[in-house]
């Protein structure tokens, strides 16, 4: 089913989370997401892959640990995206992490919300800098696409306008 909102349209999500319990690194195949720890320990290798990885950041990541990734460097290297995990949608830490990555660390690449991503949180997520969204099961992805336009005006000046979706 098409659950991934990306570039304003719905796509099939083919990304998998890499589990390093059997092998330390994923093979050079498409669609692997690795943890922040795996990336920081192995980025010299990982950035040379033919198939770029996505980096999955947990909600309790310290902003300064993310800072230790050289984002400006990453912006010019093959990384598929940075994903921030929402174990439950009421865990609001990911909103601050996203805003910090965008406005303080200069991350201009793709920023993906994964986990408990609801129709009802997409608007706020987009304003904090996310530009791709893996909509949770049970939430109609078509309705999620429309959520960008829930509010057409805003008060807060330092947050972006949600990206206009062409349908």
């Amino acid at each position: 089913m098409l659950r991934l909102i990306r570039n304003g349209t719905l796509e099939v999500n083919e990304w998998r989370i890499f589990d390093n319990s059997s092998t330390p690194l994923p093979g050079d195949e498409a669609n692997w997401m690795v943890s922040l720890a795996t990336w920081t320990d192995n980025f010299q290798f990982l950035q040379k892959r033919k198939h770029p990885v996505g980096i999955l950041i947990p909600p309790d990541a310290e902003p300064k640990d993310i800072l230790s990734i050289d984002v400006s460097h990453m912006n010019h290297h093959p990384i598929a995206f940075i994903a921030i995990d929402f174990p439950i949608y009421t865990d609001g830490r990911g909103f601050s992490l996203a805003q910090i990555l965008r406005t303080q660390h200069g991350w201009t690449g793709e920023l993906r919300a994964v986990g408990d991503v609801l129709i009802d949180t997409i608007h706020y997520l987009a304003r904090c800098g996310f530009d791709s969204f893996l909509v949770k099961e049970g939430h109609d992805p078509e309705l999620a696409l429309k959520a960008f336009e829930t509010f057409t005006v805003h008060y807060q000046k330092s947050y972006r306008q949600p990206i206009k979706i062409l349908t």
Partner: protein, 583 residues
Amino acid sequence: MYIYDDIDQKLVEQRVSQFRGQTQRFLNGQLTEEEFRVLRLQNGLYIQRHAPMLRVAIPYGMLTSKQLRTLAYVARRWDRGYGHLTTRQNIQFNWLRLEDAPSVLAKLATVQMHAIQTSGNCIRNTTTDHFAGVAADELINPLVWCEIIRQWSMLHPEFAFLPRKFKIAVSGSFTDRAAVGVHDIGLQAVEENGKFGFRVFVGGGLGRTPIVGKLIKPFVEWQDLLTYLQATLRVYNLHGRRDNKYKARIKILVKDLTPEVFANEVDEQWKIIKGGPDTVTEEFVKSIASKFKWPEYDLNTEISEAFYFSKLAADTKFNRWSCTNTHPHKMSGYASVTISLKATGSPPGDITADQMDAIADISEKYGFGELRISHEQNIIMPDVRKSDLYMLWQELQILNLATPNIGLITNIISCPGGDYCILANAVSIPVATAIQQRFDDLDFVYEIGELDLNLSGCINSCGHHHVGHIGILGVDKGGEEWYQITIGGRQNGGIGTDPSIAHNKGGGAAIGRVIGPSFAREQIPDVIYRLIQTYLKLRDSDAERFIDVVERLGITPFKQDVYADPLLAKATMSAEVLDAEIN
């Protein structure tokens, strides 16, 4: 009164549509109970003992006569003909149907009202002094600043899912009537070297862990207010505890980190965003101020006070009401009036639809059609000509709205308690009524003088019992209702009186201390009576208030006197056991 522009109106309407969709999806089974719970709470909708309860925001307590009539309409059409004013400048309707909530909100949107963020783990309705903008002792007008904070906090994308609820209060006067010391963030306007800004207290709050806020920043210049708030909220959002609901408030984070470390973390974040897009400009402050419709005082004709003074001299009842229920105004010839919703026998803070309509009419006749809600659950008429006070008082008497008890023992702050609230351990309203009946001799009530008596039906402390000069807390023990008494609490000290207190104690607020074992419900009026007798015996003059005596002598003499009565000492529960259970 702040008048919405197109953007303000559009946001509120779009929130109504969003909520209508969410309610529909829930009723159709497309949103789970758990998903919908938080979404409805963010729009003020609780599921209560009898029915859903809707909490409507009255931003910084300001209300027009037209809005009040609409609230009356809502009360009649969708509820049971009344509402309840809360201690945070909101109004609650207790008997709604869930499926009607979107229509109620749509109706409210037509008069620029909403229920956005009146509940949930987000930034709540910003509260302030109920005399904001008209008080005689004002340094700045906090209404403009409250509106700036309202806009900044409303539908904030980053801070919609905080570890726990978040309450901000603003005081613009020398006397803090906003209780800045017991809020997550308390802002006290101050002047320093000819510049004005805010003293920032963080981590105050009541509930199960009552703490007075710590002075985190002695001075934040006005331009930097929003970036400082943003930095504070960001530190809290990232580091506040999410594993335990009872340790999730910012007060626990401030305590765990220590105020110094917390302040440093905020500063670290602040220096990155200070001067950024959320910096407040003079132009912006002016544009917000210009969207208020300010009262047009009659400056040309001098308002004669002769009639007022003649009535004060001639009519003792009027004189008494004037002493307690009228307040100094910044404009000569005017006064502010408190309409007491604390008549004996009516639940504190409850207001009927008929009373709403009548007060709306009166506010147009004797004012500018503008009203305020106080956190003490009364209604304020901010601008009344002194020459009109006598007629106003006569009209209020007919409506049973002229109870002369503001600042006195019968002006009880109380939550709805176990009669309505699903969280409550004990009833509140019948206890409040019993106390009011015990103190039905007005001469005696005046003799006692200034006294705040606050009552909560459970440890969530909606009745602010911790900061009552006398506080009463309902507790449950094996299915029975018991009541714990505290004394010595207070909501402020005032920056004018003692700057050292203001610095150290969060606007001078203090948390009351438990006097001893709890009492049965029917004992409470006698216990209060005995506390009062002790006070009257110990005070050195009429000018020394109850709270002053507790401060001077401590709680021991009160404790000894109360428990010296064998009937009262028969209470079976020890406060220590209770405390252990509650915490």
